[in-house]
Symmetry: C2
Subunit: 213 residues, 2 copies
């Protein structure tokens, strides 16, 4: 899989380097029947893409690490704040039934539970379904009983890379993470919810990255 | 946001082009106090990255489309088959209760309904939760009653780009798509389920793309 399509000549250079490494630019030019100067742009591109490595006084060698670094840079420069969306929040004493209504009305997969915007818990579609399977009356149980409670909630900050959010989502097997800001009121450090990042946000970002514009 | 970090000189060239476009390579070389030949690799990289556009007999202009093309190529070369996972399937007469058990046991978000591997329907966590809200006995209703039925199911083929799968997921607001293969038995064309692609698969792919290896 290649990121930038190499030109035919660039492909040929890579083949020659693989075969003869280390090989000088003079030798490469000789093989290709062109001048050294004519090769310079291609060699610059190939070393910049880390397909080739230039060893001073030795020549070019094939770089055995694939050239993912540009992709790595690209992805790690996207911050959570540029892809996050609004969190849907309820208070701890909201009934499970009302919380599920919020879930449907806003078409989200996770409801965050807050106390004056401070994160106290999270409930997912899966948690709600598990509760519904039990047959207990949804109108009588507050969401605080079935939620995952802090400090057992994985979160990100808005300056974190979107990559980190995606990694936490996969590692912790959750659908959505709250985006928080640290505040210290009354001398106690707490987390204020300011957004959320879900698999939907990551998928939307992926679509945006793949758009041909 | 840049994909490849430009060198200081490349950044300077871009600034000069923005200011003076269209500008010839001679003029650029003059501004920078270097020879035209010395600029050639930088100009080759900048036009290849589509940061600049070279107009024959006019000079370089700044390309107003950002240089996403390499990213576009990269993403559109990833096929569904390289990221799909196994579909969890039940038959149409399975009870809603049993289907939800399958959902939990396999920790998936969508159950596909099949008839001898031919796709007939799909039920999501959201569909199940909506049903559970209604209070009807889950043991008595077959999943065929609540599923989304063909031909109302969006699907992909294993040779499709992962990008197309992500796009369909976002556009149709679903969590998961069946991956199908066309078969024509008894002269009738049908779709055999061979996999699935979900937001989880896309998120996992995004994490893999962002890994520094």
């Amino acid at each position: 899989m290649k990121a930038i399509k190499l030109s035919e000549r660039q492909e040929r250079i890579v083949e020659l380097v693989k075969e003869h490494e280390p090989i000088t630019s003079e030798n490469l030019a000789g093989h290709l029947g062109v001048t050294r100067a004519a090769l310079r742009p291609d060699l610059a591109i190939l070393t910049m893409m880390e397909v080739l490595e230039a060893k001073p006084k030795v020549g070019y060698i094939y770089s055995h690490k694939p050239s993912y670094s540009f992709l790595y840079d690209y992805i790690n420069n996207i911050e959570v704040k540029s892809i996050m969306s609004s969190p849907i929040m309820v208070e701890e004493n909201t009934t499970v039934y009302d919380a599920i209504l919020h879930l449907f009305l806003n078409d989200v997969g996770t409801i965050f539970v807050h106390n004056e915007h401070i994160l106290v818990g999270a409930v997912s579609r899966k948690d709600f379904l598990k509760f519904a399977m039990g047959g207990t009356d949804m109108h009588k149980v507050p969401v605080g009983i079935i939620m995952t409670r802090m400090p057992n909630i994985v979160y990100v900050k808005k300056e974190d890379p979107a990559y980190l959010a995606a990694k936490k989502i996969i590692e912790h097997e959750v659908d959505s993470l709250p985006v928080v800001e640290k505040t210290s009121e009354n001398g106690k450090e707490e987390l204020k919810i300011i957004g959320k990042v879900s698999k939907t946000n990551i998928t939307r970002l992926f679509v945006k990255m793949g758009e041909n514009k």
